[in-house]
């Protein structure tokens, strides 16, 4: 993973940092709202079109089909991997198998060495970030340049993405102009056309000089060995068309059985990610340049990546492998919307990140992430694959406790709660006591609501990063019996 949990400040420190950054939070909320609004509109439009038989299916139908495709593929993944590998080879490509992140790096280094490659250009790829590709290749003296505009900005800033679809949302145009200006060696104005033009010209030169283009894959069609990429900028096309070598890093969960299955997944991905019916470019690559073709890479390499994915197969978490990385669950998540992507400390943030970061790595090192959810289920509702994210989070919390890795303070509070809850008399008394004990910590806010912003003792573990609502002046039980006395029940 891009961030080793042992090298970054702990989760609470990261959250505190994010919560203190008003600009970051504003940008995250604005972007998330924007994407969510567009997604909702395009989904409503799809449903309307489907009702008039003007689309291949409503959102719910596409979701049902997509689940069917992924379920089937995962259940028979061994077969589809072999089929895809055979087709890729028939198409003139080379297939590599990477059990771990280190394998990907080693394979890429071998290719680079054989080609005497000095320059690599990349299009956006989560898989490559997962294996810390740039870092590893740069250590070998190979220049690696990100070509997605957002990723390029992030790379110049030496930061990590704040959002998986729009990585540089937290950077202002002033900051971008300064960074681009430093590269250009002259001052740049902050208007979008100037910045875009600079990026186009600079990166175009990088493309023309690159020895290797590295991409991920959004889907890989097993029956034809076709790599599919969705992009809006066209950098995915450049990466796979201009350099003499194309290397695609493909998570094994990206497979779909047939070309016809693409209609369903392509119908869901752009709609859920950016609220587009289709991205500007959808790129289907079936092999390197063929004899006589005027352009295209001489070599095509597909690296199939496991890196912990196989452990999910056949487990209660298998469903997490259906994720198509659209980011819709981030945009609706109340926790993500407040803390942004950096605080998660993993390249996969938001609800899906909280599920797969511990699963693809070591749960023991990532026990905090499954706690970062209100379990409201908004993520599940938004998810085009209908992944039961909130249920997996609960399940991971239980695993955490079973491993004896739960936060001791939090466990103590929960044990108290459990004990009280089992004995109604004690529970009632605790509620009364709590009400009185909490009073000194409760503040009235401008809007008239009351919150406790910091509680003492074991409760501080909660209020360090969140508020706590004061215990109601009358409990539900008390109100209920009042109502009964008044004969209103």
């Amino acid at each position: 993973m891009a961030a080793d949990p042992h090298n970054v400040p702990d989760f609470k420190t990261r959250i505190a940092k994010a919560l203190g950054d008003e600009r970051l939070r504003g940008a995250v909320r604005y972007t998330a709202d924007n994407l969510r609004t567009k997604r909702n509109a395009v989904v409503a439009d799809l449903n309307e079109q489907a009702a008039q038989r003007m689309a291949i299916g409503s959102f719910a139908e596409l979701r049902r089909q997509a689940r069917r495709i992924k379920e089937h593929t995962l259940k028979h993944l061994d077969y589809y991997l072999e089929q895809a590998a055979e087709r890729i080879r028939q198409n003139g490509g080379t297939v590599h198998w990477a059990g771990s992140a280190a394998d990907v790096v080693r394979i890429a280094e071998e290719i680079a060495e054989r080609r005497q490659a000095k320059r690599v250009i990349k299009s956006k790829s989560m898989a490559s970030e997962e294996v810390m590709f740039n870092h590893a290749l740069e250590a070998k003296g190979v220049e690696v340049v990100e070509s997605d505009l957002g990723e390029y900005i992030i790379q110049l800033a030496h930061e990590t993405p704040a959002h998986i679809v729009i990585p540089a949302i937290h950077k202002t145009r002033r900051q971008i102009a300064d960074m681009f200006g430093a590269v250009a060696g002259r001052e740049l104005t902050t208007d979008t056309p100037t910045l875009t033009k600079f990026a186009r010209e600079t990166l175009r030169k990088k493309f023309m000089a690159a020895d290797i283009g590295v991409s991920g894959a959004n889907f890989l069609v097993a029956e034809s060995g076709t790599i599919c990429l969705v992009t809006n900028e066209g950098n995915g096309r450049l990466t796979t068309s201009v350099p003499p070598v194309h290397v695609a890093i493909v998570g094994i969960e990206k497979l779909v059985p047939t070309l016809e299955d693409l209609a369903v997944v392509l119908g869901l991905l752009p709609r859920s990610a950016t609220g587009q019916k289709i991205t500007t470019y959808f790129n289907m690559i079936t092999g390197p340049r063929r004899p006589g073709e005027p352009d295209g890479p001489e070599e095509l390499h597909v690296i199939f990546l496991d890196n912990g994915r196989t452990n999910l197969l056949g487990s209660k978490y298998e469903e997490a492998l259906m994720c198509i990385r659209c980011g819709a669950c981030l945009n609706v998540c109340p926790v993500y919307r407040n803390i942004g992507g950096h605080a998660y400390g993993s390249i996969y943030p938001g609800p899906i990140g909280s599920v797969i970061s511990p699963l693809l790595n070591d749960l023991g090192a990532w026990t905090d992430l499954p706690q970062a959810s209100s379990l409201c289920g908004a993520c599940h509702e938004a998810c085009p694959m209908g992944i039961h994210l909130h249920e997996h989070l609960v399940s991971l919390r239980m695993d955490t406790v079973a491993m004896g890795k739960a936060d001791p303070g939090f466990t103590r509070v929960m044990k108290l709660w459990m004990a009280a809850w089992r004995r109604p008399a004690i529970y009632r008394m605790a509620a009364k006591l709590g009400r009185v004990a909490m009073r000194p910590f409760v503040k009235k806010r401008a809007d008239g609501t009351e919150v406790a912003e910091s509680l003492p003792g074991p409760f501080a573990a909660w209020t360090n990063t969140r508020n706590f609502p004061p215990i109601a002046s009358r409990t539900f039980h008390e109100r209920w019996s009042d109502l009964e006395k008044e004969g209103k029940r």
Binding site: Y30, G99, D148, T196, T258, G267, K277, I278, T286
Partner: protein, 230 residues
């Protein structure tokens, strides 16, 4: 790790064995064939969608109108320099080279059988690229372009970069190439057998929202897309 070790691990996890054979799979169909089939309606919908994506479209009733129209588009684009085009039956015979050459836009067709960097560099320096298309999708305003003709093993002079590197992309598409959904294209590609080494679905000019969510056009691909419909 080799293929066998890798796949075996997956197989063991799934509790499957080689003897289980080929899984039975019905593609995600039958997807109902939705939308209009009437060509006129398809073209109109395509044009409406393309406008929303900041692309331009033109209707012509004969092939003879195409070359003068391309000259006009280039002049209005304000570009000057040389132009590249597919060397493909879809474009040959339209008199493009003569008409454009006379108007000060020398044309080079990308050549069949001459692979290599020189061609890519030539395309990169062109002010415009002219292509045909294999399909046009009405629902989304999309052109589908193979780097060779789908279903044919041969490699005509098409390539991947003509519709990508120059700042202006002009495409010529015929009425009978219109379908309503991407699903129909996938179905046909599957039936046609041999897939080109690359198939591009392109919907309008290149775009990005990476700078403060502000839409910008032409960050990597063409900033202008002009589609001529015969």
């Amino acid at each position: 790790m080799n293929q066998q070790a890798f796949v075996n691990r997956v197989r063991a996890r799934l509790g499957r064995s080689v003897a289980d054979g080929v899984p039975e799979w019905q593609p995600s169909l039958p997807i109902p064939d939705p939308g209009p089939t009437d060509t006129e309606a398809l073209v109109e919908r395509y044009q409406a969608e393309l406008v929303k994506l900041s692309g331009n479209s033109y209707r012509v009733s004969s092939e003879a109108e195409i070359a003068p129209l391309v000259v006009r588009i280039l002049k209005e684009s304000g570009v000057s320099g040389h132009v590249v085009r597919w060397d493909d039956p879809l474009l040959n015979g339209l008199g493009l080279d003569e008409a454009l050459g006379a108007a000060g836009f020398p044309v080079t067709p990308v050549k069949h059988g001459e692979p290599g960097r020189p061609q890519v560099e030539l395309v990169e320096q062109a002010v415009a690229g002219i292509t045909g298309a294999d399909f046009a999708i009405a629902e989304t305003g999309t052109l589908v372009m193979g780097s060779s003709r789908p279903g044919e093993a041969g490699a005509p002079g098409r390539g991947r970069t003509v519709s990508l590197l120059p700042p202006v992309h002009i495409a010529v598409v015929r009425k009978e190439q219109f379908v309503y959904t991407a699903a129909q294209v996938f179905q046909r590609l599957r039936q046609m057998g041999v897939l080109p080494s690359q198939v591009i679905f392109a919907s309008g000019p290149s775009r990005s929202a990476d700078i403060e969510n502000d839409l910008s056009i032409g960050v990597h691909g063409p900033a202008q897309v002009h589609v001529i419909i015969i």
